[in-house]
C-alpha cells in the first residue's frame, strides 16, 4: 500500500496546486477558509492570554509577590494538552446544540489560553527579575515612581524575554489549534485528520506542510516585530555583549522555581 516517497511528494504538490482545494464550496471549506479559521482561533487565544499574563508577570516580577503563580503556571505544562482538550470538549459540548460550533470552540480556546499563559507569564516575570539590581536602584534613585520604573526601565529591558515567551506561546497555540481539528473543529488540522480518515495521504501531508508554513510565517513576523521594538542597546546589535541566551534564562528560571 505504500507509495514511494517521490510519488507522495508529487501527489502533495498536485494536491496543493489544485485551485479547487483553495476555494470553499457550500459543502467543503477550502485552504483559505481553514487558514482564516486557524488564524482566528489562535488570535483569540493569544490576545486573551497576553491580556491576562503580561500584566500579571510584570507585576510579579516588579513586586516579587505571588511568585508561586509562576510555579503553578509552569506546572500546568506537565498536563497532556490533548487529554485536557478532549475532557473539556466532552464536558462543554453537550451544553450547546444546533449550528453553532461554540461547544467545540470554547473548550479549544480554554486549552489554548492555558497553554499560552505559562510561557508569557514566566518570561515576563523572568525578564523583569533579570534587570540588573544596579539599574533598578539607579531608576528609583533618580526619582522614578514605581510605575515609571516598571514601564520605562523594567519593561523595555524585559522585552527580549517577553518576546521569546510570546513566540513560544504562539507556536504552541498554532500547533495545538491543529489538534483542535481532531475534536471536529475547523482549521488547517482538518486536512490532516480528514486525510488520515480517508487515507488521502497527499491531503494529510499537505495539511502538515500548511501548518508548518503558518508556524514559520508567524514566528518570522514576530521576529521582525521584535527587531523593531527592542532597543539596540539590549539586543547586542549595537556592539559587544550579546547577553545570555533567553531560552537558557527561562530554563534556569524554571529550574529555580521547581527546586524552590
Amino acid at each position: 500500500m505504500a507509495p514511494g516517497g517521490a510519488l507522495v511528494i508529487g501527489d502533495v504538490v498536485g494536491w496543493l496546486t489544485d485551485p479547487a482545494h483553495w476555494q470553499s464550496t457550500p459543502f467543503d471549506t477550502g485552504i483559505l477558509g481553514q487558514l482564516g479559521a486557524h488564524v482566528w482561533f489562535c488570535l483569540i487565544a493569544l490576545v486573551i492570554a497576553l491580556v491576562i499574563s503580561l500584566p500579571l508577570g510584570l507585576w510579579i516580577g516588579h513586586t516579587g509577590k505571588a511568585t508561586w503563580l509562576v510555579t503553578v503556571a509552569n506546572a500546568v505544562r506537565a498536563l497532556p494538552t490533548v487529554g485536557v482538550l478532549v475532557l473539556l470538549v466532552v464536558i462543554i459540548a453537550p451544553n450547546f446544540y444546533g449550528r453553532t460550533n461554540a461547544g467545540y470552540l470554547i473548550p479549544t480556546e480554554i486549552v489554548l489560553v492555558l497553554l499560552a499563559v505559562p510561557p508569557i507569564l514566566s518570561n515576563a516575570y523572568a525578564g523583569v527579575q533579570n534587570v540588573s539590581p544596579a539599574v533598578r536602584d539607579a531608576a528609583f534613585g533618580m526619582g522614578m515612581t514605581g510605575p515609571q520604573v516598571l514601564l520605562r526601565v523594567e519593561l523595555p529591558n524585559a522585552l527580549p524575554l517577553i518576546f521569546s515567551g510570546f513566540r513560544s506561546a504562539t507556536l504552541q497555540v498554532i500547533a495545538t489549534a491543529t489538534i483542535a481539528s481532531y475534536v471536529t473543529l475547523g482549521g488547517l488540522g482538518r486536512f490532516i485528520y480528514d486525510g488520515l480518515a480517508q487515507q488521502d495521504y497527499p491531503q494529510m501531508i499537505s495539511g502538515g506542510l500548511l501548518v508548518a508554513a503558518l508556524a514559520l510565517a508567524a514566528d518570522l513576523l514576530l521576529a521582525l516585530a521584535q527587531r523593531y521594538t527592542v532597543s539596540r542597546g539590549i539586543t547586542g546589535r549595537a556592539g559587544r555583549q550579546a547577553g545570555s541566551d533567553s531560552r537558557v534564562a527561562v530554563l534556569n528560571e524554571e529550574l529555580a522555581s521547581e527546586t524552590a
Binding site: V135, A138, M142, G143, P156, R232
Partner: protein, 363 residues
C-alpha cells in the same frame, strides 16, 4: 547641608545597620563616609534620598525634613551615583544623562542639549552620545553616571563607591577629574567608600564608621591621620599614616642646592667628582639620573642610559612629595622643580627631615 538627626536603621531580626547617627555634611563640601563592610555607610547614604527609610530619627536637607515630601520628588533634587553606574541599557548615552530632566518634564531638545554639555564636562567625547551603555568601558560608564546625576543641576550629590569597580589607573584619573569638577561646581556631596586612601584624597571631612553603624570619628583627613581617636580608627587608617599625613603639610620654600646637570645629547662630563649626574632636556626639565662609572668615556648622553625611577617634588608642594623625591632618587638627592617642571635644585632627605622636625609633629 545634610544633617543626620539621631538616625537609626534596624531590621526585624535585631540587626542594627545604623545606630543613632549624628552627622552634618556641610554645604559645598565633600563628606566621605568610610569604614569596613557592615559599618552601615551605604545604609546611611541611602537614608538621605530615602532609598532606605530610617527606623527612627530624621534626616534633614537644609531646613526640610526629608520625610515631609514624596520620596520620588526628593530624589529628583538629589544626584545619585552608584558603583556599577546602573546606566539604563536600553537608552542611548545622551538619553541616560537626560533621565531626570525628562522626568521633570523639561523640553526634550533642551534636555539633550544640556546632556551633551555635561558629557563634555565629565570628559567624554560627544561622539559617545548616540551609543548605548554596553558599548562603553567601565570607566566611561562611570563618567556617564556622574553626568546623569548632574543633569538636573541638583545642589546635593550622593555617591556610593562610584569608582571602586574600575582599575586603579582609571580610578586615579576619575578621582582627579572629580575633584576638578567639584572645585567648579561646589556641590554638597556625600561619598561612600571602603578605601581609606580614596577617603583621604577626596574628603573635605571624613566620617569613619565602625561595624554596628556607629560613628567612630569625624575629622579632616589630616586630623584623621595625625590624631586617630582610638585603636579602631588608627588600625583602619593604616600603618604608614604618619608618612601619609605629610601629604597634608606644605613644604614651604625648600632650601635647595644647586645641582650640576648635563643636557641630553651632550658629551659625558669629565672630571666630575660625583657618581650620579642629573640629566635635563633642552628646556631644563629633569629627565633622569646618569651613573658615570658605567658609561664609556667620550660617549654622548642618550635616553637609554638614564635611570628614571626617581619622583619629582614641586617647590611649594607637600612634605610627603619632597621626602619621596629624596627616598626614590638613586643619588640620595631629591629633585625639586618649579610649577612648569624646570629644575630648581636638589635637597637631601636629612634636610627634609630637619624641616619636618622644625615644624613639629604634623597637626
Amino acid at each position: 547641608m545634610i544633617r543626620f538627626d539621631h538616625a537609626t536603621k534596624s531590621y526585624p531580626g535585631g540587626t542594627v545597620a545604623v545606630d543613632d547617627l549624628q552627622l552634618e555634611a556641610p554645604t559645598g563640601q565633600i563628606t566621605v563616609l568610610v569604614g569596613p563592610s557592615g559599618c552601615g555607610k551605604t545604609t546611611s547614604l541611602r537614608m538621605i534620598n530615602r532609598m532606605i527609610e530610617p527606623t527612627s530619627g530624621k534626616v534633614w536637607l537644609d531646613d526640610t525634613d526629608t520625610a515631609s515630601m514624596p520620596a520620588h520628588e526628593l530624589r529628583r533634587q538629589i544626584g545619585y551615583v552608584i558603583q556599577h553606574a546602573g546606566l539604563f541599557p536600553h537608552r542611548t548615552i545622551v538619553d541616560n544623562v537626560a533621565t531626570v530632566p525628562f522626568l521633570l518634564g523639561t523640553d526634550k531638545k533642551q534636555a539633550r542639549a544640556r546632556s551633551m554639555e555635561l558629557l563634555e564636562r565629565v570628559g567624554l567625547d560627544p561622539a559617545f552620545a548616540k551609543r548605548y551603555p554596553a558599548q562603553l568601558s567601565g570607566g566611561q560608564q562611570q563618567r556617564v553616571g556622574v553626568a546623569r546625576a548632574l543633569a538636573a543641576d541638583p545642589p546635593v550629590m550622593l555617591m556610593d563607591e562610584p569608582f571602586s569597580a574600575v582599575d586603579p589607573v582609571v580610578r586615579d584619573q576619575l578621582q582627579d577629574e572629580f575633584l576638578r569638577l567639584q572645585s567648579d561646581l561646589g556641590k554638597t556631596i556625600v561619598f561612600v567608600t571602603h578605601d581609606i586612601d580614596e577617603a583621604i584624597k577626596l574628603g573635605d571631612q571624613v566620617a569613619v564608621l565602625r561595624v554596628g553603624g556607629t560613628l567612630a570619628q569625624l575629622a579632616t583627613p589630616r586630623e584623621l591621620l595625625s590624631r586617630p581617636v582610638d585603636a579602631f580608627v588608627a588600625g583602619f587608617v593604616g600603618r604608614d599614616r604618619g608618612y601619609r599625613a605629610l601629604g597634608f603639610t606644605q613644604s614651604g620654600s625648600l632650601r635647595t642646592h644647586e645641582e650640576p646637570t648635563v643636557t641630553l645629547g651632550d658629551p659625558l662630563p669629565s672630571g666630575s667628582d660625583r657618581d650620579w649626574v642629573l640629566v635635563v632636556d633642552a628646556a631644563g626639565a629633569p629627565q633622569g639620573w646618569l651613573h658615570l662609572g658605567d658609561q664609556p668615556r667620550g660617549a654622548v648622553v642618550e635616553d637609554r642610559m638614564l635611570y628614571r625611577g626617581g619622583t619629582l617634588a614641586t617647590q611649594g608642594g607637600t612634605l610627603r612629595a619632597a621626602l619621596d623625591a629624596c627616598l626614590s632618587s638613586p643619588s640620595g638627592r631629591g629633585v625639586v622643580v618649579d610649577e612648569a617642571g624646570r629644575l630648581i635644585g636638589t635637597v637631601t632627605a636629612r634636610e627634609v627631615l630637619d624641616l619636618i622636625e622644625s615644624q613639629g609633629t604634623p597637626s
